[in-house]
């Protein structure tokens, strides 16, 4: 591993950090702006009270009382919405690791250079992981800047940690997409299955959190969205084991993707 492919990936794709980071940051500022007004938050909480639990979960609010606080509002609403947007980025990034270049034929040129397939995949993955990190950090800093600038009464460290906690889930969605692209070879199929993975995870999380029982618990446990719970930082119940589970899944996914990519034919 020389880092050359990482550098090239960052050079060709660094603008994604700006586009996504600024876009999500703008969303964060908007949510900060609403958080300045306790009346709006409590009104919104009253509205949510009339909703069934599954709907509440879909709106990123599992605890109504929490939503009436500024930090609870910012974390619950922003994290649940940003997680969806970041999943879209993750799918696109996962496709960019190998599938897009393979589809266009560029991979033939790349792999005729003196670089092993495993090094290439690893460096591409790291490159897009760094871009994902840049996006999450940028949107977290903008949201935090909004909190500070608008004098919102919310603990800064909680806001920062809960948004940064979006990163492992984003990496997981990216890695799963990369795995699908290396396994299925056809880009369109990989997009379809990755979209299905993200959508199913989201639905499982909503239903799993709203319902009770063994099946509901299972659904919640297999959804990566359930490990992106910003509220845990607000109420102090964050368990590092949750992040460890996601990181473990990322490692397994990456190893499987590596095995696929190294062992199979390249191109169509």
């Amino acid at each position: 591993m020389t880092g050359i492919v990482i550098g090239n990936t960052l050079r060709t794709s660094w603008k994604q950090i700006l586009y996504w980071g600024l876009g999500l940051g703008a969303l964060g500022l908007y949510i900060d702006f609403i958080a300045m007004s306790p009346d709006i938050i409590s009104g919104y909480a009253d509205l949510l009270k009339s909703m069934p639990p599954a709907m509440l979960q879909a709106f990123g609010a599992s605890d109504i009382a929490l939503l009436t606080t500024a930090e609870g509002w910012i974390v619950s609403i922003f994290v649940s919405e940003a997680a969806i947007f970041l999943s879209v980025f993750a799918v696109m990034a996962g496709l960019n690791i190998t599938a897009n270049d393979e589809q266009s034929g560029l991979m033939d040129v790349i792999l005729s250079l003196p670089i092993s397939r495993s090094s290439y995949l690893l460096e591409r993955w790291i490159g897009f992981a760094l871009i994902g990190l840049g996006i999450v950090v940028l949107c977290a800093l903008i949201t935090l800047a909004g909190v500070i600038g608008m004098n919102v009464d919310a603990p800064h460290d909680v806001i920062l940690k809960s948004i940064l906690n979006l990163y492992p889930g984003t990496l997981l969605a990216m890695t799963v997409t990369c795995l699908l692209a290396t396994a299925l070879r056809r880009r369109a199929l990989a997009i379809g299955f990755a979209a299905a993975f993200v959508t199913a995870s989201y639905i499982f999380n909503v239903i799993g959190a709203a319902a009770s029982g063994a099946i509901a618990d299972f659904m919640e446990n297999v959804s990566y969205f359930s490990y992106i719970h910003g509220e845990a930082f607000v109420v102090g119940t964050y368990d590092p084991a949750d992040s460890a589970i996601v990181i473990g899944a990322i490692l397994i996914g990456f190893v499987l993707a590596l095995r696929n990519f190294v062992s199979r034919d390249i191109g169509i």
Binding site: I4, S104, L111, P114, G267
Partner: protein, 311 residues
């Protein structure tokens, strides 16, 4: 041949798909290419040329057989092999949003000797009249292919693997390319060139392999393969073609493909000329032109001959 071979292929096969959809793209290919040789790899579309090249580059994996380049296994030692080769793909794709210079710098850095390689790339770009400051998306298809050639050749590789390299290049650039190939030969470097532009292969290659339906039909020197038994004969009479001459010619076992046009008769001739001379002596022969078949015709002869056998 095998001892000083740069490329050594033994029983290499490749099938795509499985079950009823299985397609045999390459069937037990045996081939050696010597150092300093420019080897032309000919065949119609779908013959297996690109499959062979992609196998040699370890982009796809063989179903059977093996191959070495520089004595190194194409699978186990692919990174070391790639360090010493240059490749130009038939379907060239490059980073659309980057300039030629940026791509050259990137590829040079992957190859590990940026300064020397970039300098040589600049020289090649100048020879090919290529502006490397433009983004790839702004280049014409011909200029993209020039950039592909620069990338393939900029590190002065010991072996060049070129898949249909001159398609889309203007004649002047093709001439420059031919000169570059001559220089490669003079330096003792090896070129494996896949093409269906047979006149090009005839002009620059030392040996030719003809591939059809995944099978290597012939490997011969360009001189030898050109020296096939048939020739085209044009006979121009001073007056009209004598009556009944065409029928008489068609009865000769050595003559086929007879056509007449005014005072001219054209035919495909195999073997001795004496029977032909006796038949045409009935008229006043103004000129007699004997034409060696082009490589295209030789190729078609291989192709149709084999087809006839199978029918």
């Amino acid at each position: 041949m095998a001892s000083d071979s740069v490329i050594n292929i033994r029983g290499l096969s490749k099938t795509y798909g499985s079950g009823k959809k299985q397609t045999l793209a390459l069937n037990r290919l045996d081939l050696s290419v010597a150092q300093g040789e420019i080897f032309g790899y000919l065949g119609p579309n779908g013959a297996g040329k690109t499959t062979t090249i992609r196998l040699l580059l370890d982009l796809i994996r063989p179903s059977a057989g093996s191959a070495t380049i520089f004595g190194l296994d194409i699978r186990a030692d692919s990174v070391e092999i790639h360090r010493r080769i240059g490749f130009f793909p038939a379907e060239l794709s490059l980073w659309e949003g980057r300039t030629g210079d940026q791509i050259i710098n990137y590829v040079a850095s992957v190859r590990g000797d940026t300064k020397g390689i970039v300098k040589h790339a600049d020289e090649l770009a100048e020879r090919l009249d290529l502006d490397t400051s433009k983004k790839v998306r702004d280049l014409s298809s011909g200029n993209k292919r020039k950039l592909g050639l620069v990338i393939a050749m900029m590190h002065s590789p010991e072996l060049l693997i070129l898949d249909e390299p001159t398609g889309g290049l203007d004649p002047l650039v093709q001439q420059t390319f031919h000169e570059m190939m001559d220089e490669y030969r003079a330096k003792g470097k090896t070129v494996f060139l896949s093409s269906h532009v047979l006149s090009e292969v005839q002009a620059i290659c030392d040996r030719v392999g003809i591939l059809r339906d995944g099978e290597l039909k012939a490997v011969e020197s360009v001189e030898k393969i050109t020296n096939v038994e048939f020739q085209w004969v044009d006979v121009v009479f001073r007056d009209a073609v004598p009556a009944g001459l065409q029928q008489q010619l068609e009865r000769l076992p050595a003559v086929t493909n007879v056509s007449t046009n005014g005072t001219r008769v054209r035919m495909r001739m195999v073997g001795d000329f004496d029977p032909l001379l006796r038949v045409i002596s009935g008229g006043y022969v103004e000129t007699l032109h004997i034409e060696e078949p082009s490589l295209e015709e030789i190729f078609l002869a291989f192709y149709s001959g084999d087809k006839e056998k199978t029918e």
